[in-house]
C-alpha cells in the first residue's frame, strides 16, 4: 500500500479529455477508491458538452476532513490526467503550476475547427517537448494504442487510471481499484479492466 496520508489537504486531481472518452467514469472510479479508503472526496464535472466534441473535465478534491469546491482554484492542481494531448496543455494553462504532475495520453482527437482547416493541431512530439520545458514531471502514454491492442479503445481511461495509481502518490491500491471497478462493470470484464490497469501502472512508473 502507498502512503495512507495526503501530502496536502485538499489534494487536487484533474482528469480531462474529450466527450466520449470515459472521463466521467474514470473520475468516479478514482473517487470511489478514495472514499472507500475513508477520504472525503469532492468531484466537480463539466460534461454538458460531452459527446458533442467538447472538452470534458473532472476536478477531484481529496481531503481527510470535508468537501471542498468542485472547481479547483486556478494554478493549484497537483495531478493532471489527460486522455487527449492538447487538453493536457489547455488544463495546464488554467490549473497547472511548476510542481504539477502531468500524465497524458498521446492520441489526438481533432477539434472540428482543425478538421475544417481553420486551426492547426500541433505535432505530438513538439507538444511533449514544450510541456517538458514547462514542467519537470510529465509522463506521456500511448494509452489508446495500448487499449486498441487489448481490443477496445475505451480502455485507455483505465490504463491512465492505472498510471495514476502507479505514481504511488495517492493513498489507494490495486485492490481498491478492483473493488471500485467491480461495482461498475459486468463481472466478465473485470479481468480485462485489471489487465488495462496493471499495464497503466507499469507505464506510469517509468
Amino acid at each position: 500500500m502507498n502512503s495512507t496520508r495526503l501530502s496536502k489537504d485538499p489534494y487536487s486531481v484533474i482528469i480531462t479529455g474529450v466527450g466520449g472518452q470515459g472521463n466521467v467514469m474514470a473520475s468516479r472510479v478514482l473517487g470511489s477508491m478514495l472514499v472507500n479508503n475513508g477520504f472525503s472526496v469532492t468531484i466537480g464535472e463539466t460534461f454538458g458538452a460531452s459527446q458533442r466534441g467538447g472538452s470534458v473535465m473532472s476536478h477531484l478534491r481529496i481531503s481527510e476532513t470535508s468537501s471542498w469546491s468542485p472547481q479547483i482554484p486556478k494554478g493549484t492542481a497537483d495531478i493532471i490526467v489527460s486522455l487527449e494531448p492538447i487538453e493536457a496543455v489547455r488544463v495546464l494553462a488554467a490549473y497547472g503550476n511548476p510542481g504539477v504532475i502531468l500524465l497524458s495520453n498521446t492520441r489526438p482527437i481533432f477539434p472540428v475547427n482543425v478538421i475544417k482547416g481553420d486551426a492547426a493541431y500541433p505535432s505530438v512530439e513538439e507538444l511533449k517537448k514544450s510541456v517538458r520545458r514547462l514542467i519537470p514531471h510529465s509522463i506521456f502514454i500511448e494509452a489508446t494504442e495500448e487499449a486498441l491492442k487489448m481490443g477496445n479503445p475505451i480502455l485507455a481511461n483505465i490504463i491512465m487510471l492505472g498510471a495514476v495509481v502507479g505514481l504511488n502518490i495517492l493513498p489507494i491500491t490495486r485492490e481498491n481499484f478492483r473493488t471500485a471497478i467491480g461495482e461498475r462493470v459486468s463481472p466478465d470484464t473485470v479481468d480485462l479492466n485489471m489487465d488495462a490497469f496493471d499495464l497503466g501502472s507499469r507505464l506510469g512508473q517509468q
Binding site: 472526496v41 467538447g54 471542498w68 469546491s69 482554484p73 486556478k74 496543455v89 497547472g96 478538421i115 507538444l127
Partner: protein, 648 residues
C-alpha cells in the same frame, strides 16, 4: 442493488448532488416522482426509476414540466409525498400551474426540485428560478454541500407538510453534477395509502376539494398562503442547515448559499483569513428568517453577499437590513451592486478570492506569474479550441445538410426557426448556420406559424421550422395546431431520433417503454400530424438527395403547414451506439483533396469528427475509432473516394 437504497445507517457513499437529493427523498419516504429531462437535473428521475421496484416508487418522464408538476401534485393531494424535478427553464413552463398550486396548497409533502445552470454550461440561457419562490410565495431551500443536498431534501418534506404548501429546492450545476461524501440515514418502512379526500367543505384544506379560486375574495386563499410563508420563516429561524462559522465579531460577514458556500470556504482557506471573516451559509433563502439575519448582521459592519447570477439574496437581505438599521446600524454591502461579484456566469473560488482581496485589501499572488504566462502562451499555440459539433453519425448533421441545400436551391432566402435540442447547433457552422431563430421549447413552430402569416405584408421567404420528437410532444403540438388551423404555410421538419437525445436518451410519449422499463403506449407522431390536418412526408435523413428533394417540393407546393418527419435514430441511441452500419474508408488514390472539384468538402464543410485531413498526403481519412459508420460522407464525396461497405 443500487447503492442509493443501501439501508445501512451511517454508511458513506460518494454521491452526485442529484443522487443525494434522491437519497434524501427516499429517506423521507417519497412515492411519486415526475419530471422532464433537462441538464443538469436529469439524473434525478433516472435514479428514481432504477429503484422504483425496490422502494415502491412511481417515476415518470412527463410530457413537459407543467404536467410533471401536476402529476406530482395529484399524489400530494392524495396524501403521498411527491417530488417534481426540472431544470431552470422548465420552471417557466410549470409556472402557470405552480402559481395556482401555491394558492391551493398541498397535502402530502411535495417538493419542486429545480436545477439551475449558472454559466449556461448546458442551457440556452442562465435563467434564475429563485425568483419564482418570491413571485408565487413559497419557501425556497438551497443546499450548501452534498450531505446537505440529502438532509435538506428530507427536511423539506416535513416543512411542506407543516405549512401545507409546495417547497422549492434549488440546486445548481456544480451541486447537481458534482459529487461528494454523503452519510446515509435510515430508510423508512412505510406503507403508503393514497386517497383523495374531497367531500368536505369548499375551503377545508384537509377534506375539501383542492382548488385555486379566489374570485374577488383574496383573503380566503391569498391570506392563508402568506401565513404559510410567515410560518416557514419562523421555522427557518431554527433550521439546522443555516450555519455560521467564524469569529464572534469578524471584520467581514460573508453571506452565501448553494455551491457558492464551497467557493467561499475554499477562498477563505486559500487566503488564510478564517480569523478575519465569518461565513453565514443560508439554506433557507426565501423567506429569510429575520431574527437569524439580524443576529448575524450585528456581527459585522461590512457584509459581503456571494451568490450566482442575479442579486436575489443580496436584495432580500438589504430589504431586511434597511428595516433593522435602527438596531443593527448601517451596513456596508459588497456583492453584485458593488461590482465585486459578476451577475453573469457561474462563480468559482478565484472570483471569490479576487473579491475578498479587494474588500480586505490583502496582498495575494495566486500563481507563479512566469509559469502562468508561459503556460498560457503554450495553450494559445498548441491547444486549438474545441468547438461543439454534432456527434459522429448524428442524423442532425445529415438533416441540416439537406435543409441547407434545399433552402439554397430554392433561392428565396428561406430560413429555419429553431427549437430546443441538440439541433440548437443548427445555428452554428456545424449545422451549416441554417437555424435563424432560437428560443424556448416549441417556439420554433410558434414563430413559424407567425412568420407564415406575414405573406399579406410582403414576406416572400419560405418559412421552415425544426423540432425534435420529444420537443414535439412537449410544446410544439399546440403551435402546430395553431398553424394548421390558421392555414399558416410553413414546413416543420420533425427530427425524430427516437428519444430525448440531448439529455441522455430519455423516453417520451412516442417511446414504447417508459423510464421504469414498463411497456408504454407509443404515440405515433405521423398519425397525430395527419389527424391534425397537416400534409405529412417521411424521409430518412441519411438519404440526402431524397430529403432535399422532398423539402424543396414541400416548400414549393401545397398550402398550410406541412410536416417532414426526418426519422433516424440518434447515434448514441441503444439501437445504434457502438454498432456501425458501414465500414467507411477513403481510397487515397481517388481522393482529390484540396483540388478543384472538391476542395475538401468532407473535412472543410461537412465537418464530421470521424473524418480527418492528412495534411502530408493531402487526402482525407477516416478515424475508425471515432467514425460511427453512418456512411453519409460517402454520399457527399464528389469523386467517390469515400467508400462504405456494409458491416456483415
Amino acid at each position: 442493488m443500487s447503492y442509493l437504497i443501501d439501508n445501512r445507517e451511517g454508511v458513506q457513499h460518494l454521491l452526485m448532488g442529484n443522487e443525494a437529493i434522491v437519497r434524501g427523498a427516499l429517506e423521507a419516504g417519497v412515492n411519486v416522482t415526475a419530471g422532464y429531462p433537462g441538464t443538469p437535473s436529469s439524473e434525478i428521475i433516472e435514479a428514481f426509476s432504477k429503484i422504483a421496484g425496490d422502494r415502491n416508487i412511481y417515476a415518470e418522464w412527463s410530457t413537459n414540466e407543467k404536467v410533471a408538476m401536476e402529476v406530482a401534485a395529484a399524489a400530494s393531494f392524495a396524501g403521498l409525498r411527491s417530488l417534481c424535478v426540472m431544470k431552470q427553464n422548465g420552471v417557466n413552463v410549470a409556472s402557470d400551474f405552480l402559481l395556482h398550486l401555491a394558492s391551493s396548497g398541498t397535502r402530502g409533502g411535495m417538493l419542486l426540485v429545480t436545477c439551475d445552470d449558472p454559466g449556461a454550461l448546458s442551457s440556452v440561457n442562465e435563467g434564475e428560478s429563485r425568483l419564482f419562490a418570491k413571485l408565487v410565495e413559497i419557501p425556497l431551500l438551497e443546499p450548501g454541500d452534498f450531505q446537505e443536498a440529502k438532509d435538506l431534501t428530507t427536511w423539506a418534506f416535513g416543512l411542506s407538510e407543516k405549512i401545507k404548501n409546495i417547497v422549492m429546492i434549488r440546486s445548481v450545476t456544480r451541486m447537481s453534477h458534482a459529487s461528494g461524501n454523503v452519510t446515509f440515514g435510515p430508510l423508512p418502512e412505510t406503507v403508503p395509502h393514497a386517497e383523495y379526500s374531497c367531500d368536505g367543505p369548499l375551503l377545508d384544506t384537509e377534506t375539501g376539494p383542492v382548488i385555486s379560486m379566489i374570485l374577488a375574495a383574496p383573503e380566503l386563499q391569498h391570506g392563508p398562503q402568506q401565513e404559510k410563508l410567515e410560518k416557514a420563516a419562523r421555522l427557518f429561524e431554527d433550521c439546522p442547515f443555516n450555519t455560521y462559522t467564524g469569529p464572534e465579531a469578524p471584520e467581514l460577514l460573508i453571506v452565501t448559499s448553494s455551491a457558492c458556500n464551497l467557493y467561499v470556504r475554499e477562498a477563505v482557506h486559500l487566503l488564510e483569513i478564517d480569523d478575519r471573516v465569518g461565513i453565514l451559509k443560508l439554506a433557507t433563502t426565501w423567506p429569510l428568517p429575520p431574527n437569524l439575519i439580524k443576529q448575524n448582521l450585528m456581527r459585522a459592519d461590512r457584509i459581503f453577499v456571494v451568490e450566482e447570477v442575479l442579486p436575489t439574496l443580496e436584495g432580500n437581505i438589504k430589504i431586511l437590513a434597511a428595516d433593522m438599521a435602527p438596531e443593527t446600524g448601517i451596513k456596508t454591502f459588497y456583492g453584485k451592486h458593488s461590482g465585486h461579484i459578476p451577475s453573469v456566469g457561474e462563480l468559482n473560488p478565484d472570483i471569490v478570492v479576487s473579491a475578498l482581496v479587494r474588500i480586505l485589501d490583502i496582498d495575494y499572488r495566486p500563481a507563479d506569474a512566469t509559469f502562468e504566462y508561459e503556460a498560457a502562451a503554450l495553450a494559445d499555440t498548441m491547444a486549438p479550441n474545441r468547438g461543439m459539433t454534432f456527434c459522429p453519425g448524428c442524423p442532425h448533421r445529415a438533416s441540416f445538410w439537406s435543409i441547407h441545400h434545399a433552402i439554397a436551391l430554392d433561392g428565396r432566402n428561406g430560413f429555419v426557426c429553431g427549437d430546443i435540442g441538440c439541433y440548437v447547433m443548427g445555428t452554428l457552422p456545424s449545422g451549416y448556420s441554417t437555424v435563424k431563430t432560437l428560443h424556448s421549447m416549441g417556439s420554433g413552430s410558434g414563430l413559424a406559424s407567425g412568420f407564415g402569416k406575414l405573406k399579406q405584408f410582403g414576406l416572400e421567404q419560405p418559412v421552415l421550422a425544426v423540432c425534435g420528437d420529444s420537443t414535439f410532444f412537449h410544446a410544439a403540438m399546440p403551435a402546430l395546431a395553431n398553424a394548421i388551423h390558421h392555414k399558416s404555410p410553413f414546413t416543420l421538419m420533425l427530427l425524430d431520433n427516437r428519444g430525448t437525445a440531448m439529455t441522455g436518451f430519455q423516453p417520451h410519449p412516442g417511446s414504447p417503454v417508459d423510464v421504469m422499463g414498463e411497456p408504454a403506449q407509443a404515440i405515433d407522431i405521423e398519425a397525430i400530424c395527419r389527424a391534425m390536418g397537416a400534409k405529412v412526408e417521411i424521409a430518412d435523413p441519411f438519404n440526402l438527395e431524397k430529403t432535399q428533394e422532398m423539402l424543396n417540393h414541400l416548400m414549393e407546393h401545397g398550402e398550410g403547414a406541412k410536416v417532414l418527419i426526418l426519422r433516424q435514430a440518434c447515434a448514441l441511441s441503444p439501437e445504434r451506439r457502438g454498432k456501425k452500419k458501414f465500414d467507411v474508408s477513403v481510397d487515397e488514390t481517388i481522393c482529390i483533396g484540396e483540388n478543384c472539384g472538391c476542395n475538401r468538402l468532407c473535412t472543410r464543410i461537412f465537418g464530421c469528427p470521424g473524418i480527418t485531413w492528412d495534411n502530408d498526403k493531402k487526402v482525407s481519412r477516416i478515424d475508425t475509432i471515432i467514425c460511427a459508420g453512418c456512411g453519409v460522407c460517402a454520399d457527399i464525396c464528389p469523386v467517390g473516394a469515400i467508400r462504405k461497405k456494409e458491416v456483415a
